[in-house]
């Protein structure tokens, strides 16, 4: 019993994920700064921001729905945390797993976007409502490619359990190469999910201030911010588990370091993407996702089916 609480609250649960989330945010910001020829923040900056926000006054707009407005950051926070338990980190077995946990993880990762939508919508300010509408439109654009891109490797492994997928790819390491295109697709979709440039359309600063989060302040904003950081880690961990499934059999120490390296590698790819492109418009983003990314994901699904047929013969 104590073991379960330790796992949920401290390691690899709440405390570890929060710290790793802040660390990943620092890594992202620092790397981005270096790529942009800036100095960048000191290592404690994300934590300092978090503490500062916790100390600030909590302002709930008069016209906002107070229940939904206060509930949403907590929901985003808990949903990301829950998703983390089903992802294999440094061993082939996740903290908890069952056949179908892949779908649960994907749906839990959708919840933060829905909370942005609801929080922004019920804040009842023009900027946050436009941001809310944009984030839900964007959800429809990237969610399908992401599901397809992760479904293809799962289908190849013949299971919907993330833990069993890592076992399968452990014994068939060369099949990972087949998923490289899906990896790129999933990265693009993750950029959309995390609302990072070029898909930071729902929080485009120069157009709609901070989008859904415009009216948020104080503790609620702090929880949204840390939920976004955690979502970045969880999303990157998911991609690492599905597309980089190696190094699970070296014990805890090496496996753990490998896990950190893999997640930071995915985060680095995300920061690289956001430094080299401009923000797209929402119509361009949808066109891009539906005309290029989604068909590519479908094509990879067909390729995987054919290859699976050839192997099993």
């Amino acid at each position: 019993m104590i073991n379960v609480f330790f796992n949920i609250l401290i390691f690899p649960g709440l405390i570890f994920l929060s710290i790793f989330g802040l660390g990943a945010e620092y890594f992202d910001r620092k790397l981005c700064a270096k790529l942009q020829n800036r100095v960048g923040p000191p290592w404690f900056q994300p934590l300092a921001d978090f503490i500062k926000l916790l100390a600030k006054e909590n302002v709930i707009p008069n016209q906002a729905d107070p229940t939904v407005f206060t509930l949403m950051p907590v929901l985003a926070f808990t949903a990301t945390l829950t998703a983390f338990f089903y992802i294999p980190l440094w061993q082939t077995k996740a903290l908890s797993s069952f056949n179908g946990d892949l779908i649960v993880v994907l749906y839990l990762l959708t919840i933060p976007t829905l909370t942005f939508f609801l929080g922004g919508w019920y804040a009842r300010s023009v900027f946050s409502m436009i941001g809310a509408a944009r984030s839900i439109i964007q959800l429809f654009a990237y969610e399908i490619p992401l599901f397809l891109a992760i479904l293809a490797p799962a289908m190849m492994a013949g299971t919907l359990s993330l833990s069993e997928m890592t076992v399968f790819y452990g014994s068939h390491p060369w099949l990972v190469l087949l998923n490289l295109v899906d990896f790129v697709i999933a990265l693009v979709a993750l950029l959309g999910k995390l609302e990072k440039t070029p898909f930071d359309i729902p929080e485009a600063e120069t157009e709609i201030v901070a989008g859904c989060l415009t009216e948020y302040s104080g503790r609620l904003l702090a929880f949204f911010r840390i939920a976004i950081d955690m979502e970045m880690v969880v999303g990157s961990s998911l991609l690492a588990a599905v597309f980089l499934p190696f190094g699970f059999n070296f014990g805890f120490a090496i496996g753990f370091i490998l896990y950190l390296v893999k997640v930071l590698f995915v985060v680095a790819l995300l920061s690289l993407a956001r430094t080299i492109v401009a923000r797209l418009r929402i119509d361009q983003m949808i066109n891009f996702c539906w005309k290029i990314v989604a068909p590519a994901a479908f094509l990879m699904l067909v390729v995987d089916l054919v290859v699976k047929g050839l192997i099993s013969r």
């Binding site: 492109v277 401009a278 797209l280």
Partner: protein, 409 residues
């Protein structure tokens, strides 16, 4: 306007705007159906203040019309004053003025490039171009002593001379900048997301540009071949060879191309000036009192044609000073360019005219067209309005009001 339309206030305080100005957008979904511009949040009464001070003091005041093109306004004003006084400015002084003007153009266009990058969410471009802008800022600080508001002009010439040590440093800086600018030209013409965000956005046809009176790079990007430096040369622009950059794209992309190519022309001008810098004095003595007369001066600021009108009455203070900053000519085209565009295009379309709202701001009074009533308030009216406003929220200042005997109550 149907029931699905809604209004978004962009400004007076908004992240897209670096200065307070209000744009009220009527939206239909993500599309803008109409826009109104409201000037007047930054009115500082500089034209009036000019009438109360001497010409020399005015020069420093006029310089503060705009933080970016301070030399443009100062030179434009000084040219008008010198014309009234009939002063023959030494050639060396004119060359130095031109040099500072072109360095200012370089710094302004690099600044614009960064702002444009930021408006379309491409912060890397902002960081890079502003880093390179430091090079030209350092050169300006070396030449004039200031990074902005150079104060290099004086009536009848300039205040600071260029020494022999300055020239190689400037040339070196120009070489560095030229290399970087080539890189920006490559980025602007090859990077897919930039082209996607800029091309076809904020269309302004040749005819519309002429009718709405667009000036500067905004007009030149619509194929309007106008440049005061060539059409009505001032300072030493007669002696230098340069091309007036025009473009046929008529959109924000065209404006970006015009500006980066103008940078290359500016480097050319700077090199020619440094090569042919004549010897001689840098200023002639100017009288304190300027004889009666009036003059209109034109100047090609980085943002477009700047016009100053000065009327002198024989004293040491001008009778009237009128400033027509380039943004005032360009701000009308913004509403035209934004019609039926996406909200996402709003920041870059506004930024594409390189707006400087503090230069543009005018005192306006709003008249209700139906009733003919003017929406202006006198000081006592404003005072009682504020007391009434506070009383509604539960704070009563009327006792305090009686105690201090405010005029008008």
């Amino acid at each position: 306007m149907d029931r699905y339309d809604f209004k978004i206030p962009i400004g007076p305080q908004h992240p897209a705007l670096k200065e307070p100005e209000s744009f009220l957008l009527t939206m239909h979904g993500e599309k803008i159906s109409s826009m109104t511009v409201r000037l007047g949040y930054n009115h500082r009464g500089i034209e009036k203040a000019c009438e109360l001070q001497t010409y020399i003091q005015d020069m420093y005041l006029i310089e503060r019309v705009c933080g970016i093109c301070s030399h443009s306004h100062a030179t434009c004003f000084i040219q008008a004053v010198e014309e009234i006084a009939g002063l023959q400015v030494p050639k060396r002084a004119l060359y130095i003025r031109t040099l500072v003007a072109e360095l200012e153009r370089v710094h302004s266009h690099l600044l614009w490039l960064g702002v444009a990058g930021h408006e379309i969410g491409f912060d890397t471009l902002l960081m890079y171009s502003w880093r390179d802008r430091e090079v030209v800022m350092d050169i300006l600080a070396m030449l004039t002593g200031n990074r902005v508001n150079y104060s290099v002009n004086t009536i009848g010439g300039v205040r600071r001379d260029i020494t022999a040590e300055h020239i190689p440093q400037i040339l070196k800086a120009i070489d560095t900048l030229e290399e970087r600018t080539k890189y920006y030209i490559q980025i602007a013409t090859e990077e897919t997301t930039i082209i996607k965000r800029l091309s076809g956005v904020g269309m302004l046809s040749y005819d519309d540009g002429v009718h709405l009176g667009a000036v500067g790079p905004t007009a030149r990007a619509s194929g309007i071949d106008r440049d005061v430096r060539r059409d009505d040369p001032y300072a030493s622009y007669e002696d230098v060879k340069f091309a007036v950059i025009t473009d046929k794209h008529c959109d924000v992309y065209g404006r970006a191309v015009v500006r980066v190519l103008e940078l290359m022309e500016s480097y050319k001008i700077i090199r020619q000036i440094l090569a042919n810098l004549p010897d001689g004095p840098i200023a002639v003595k100017a009288p304190r009192k300027i004889p009666a007369g009036e003059a209109l001066s034109r100047y090609e600021a980085p943002r477009g044609e700047d016009v100053h009108y000065v009327k002198a009455n024989g004293t040491d203070k001008p009778e009237r000073v009128k400033v027509r900053a380039p943004t005032l000519a360009n701000v009308q085209v913004v509403a035209h360019m934004l019609k039926d565009r996406y909200l996402a295009d709003m920041p870059i379309v506004i930024a594409a005219i390189d707006p400087c709202f503090s230069c543009t701001d005018r005192l306006i009074s709003v008249t209700d067209a139906g009733k003919g009533t003017k929406n202006t308030m006198t000081w006592p009216q404003l005072h009682s309005y504020s007391i009434e406003w506070h009383r509604k929220s539960g704070i009563d200042f009327s006792e305090l009001n009686k105690k201090f005997k405010v005029p008008g109550n």
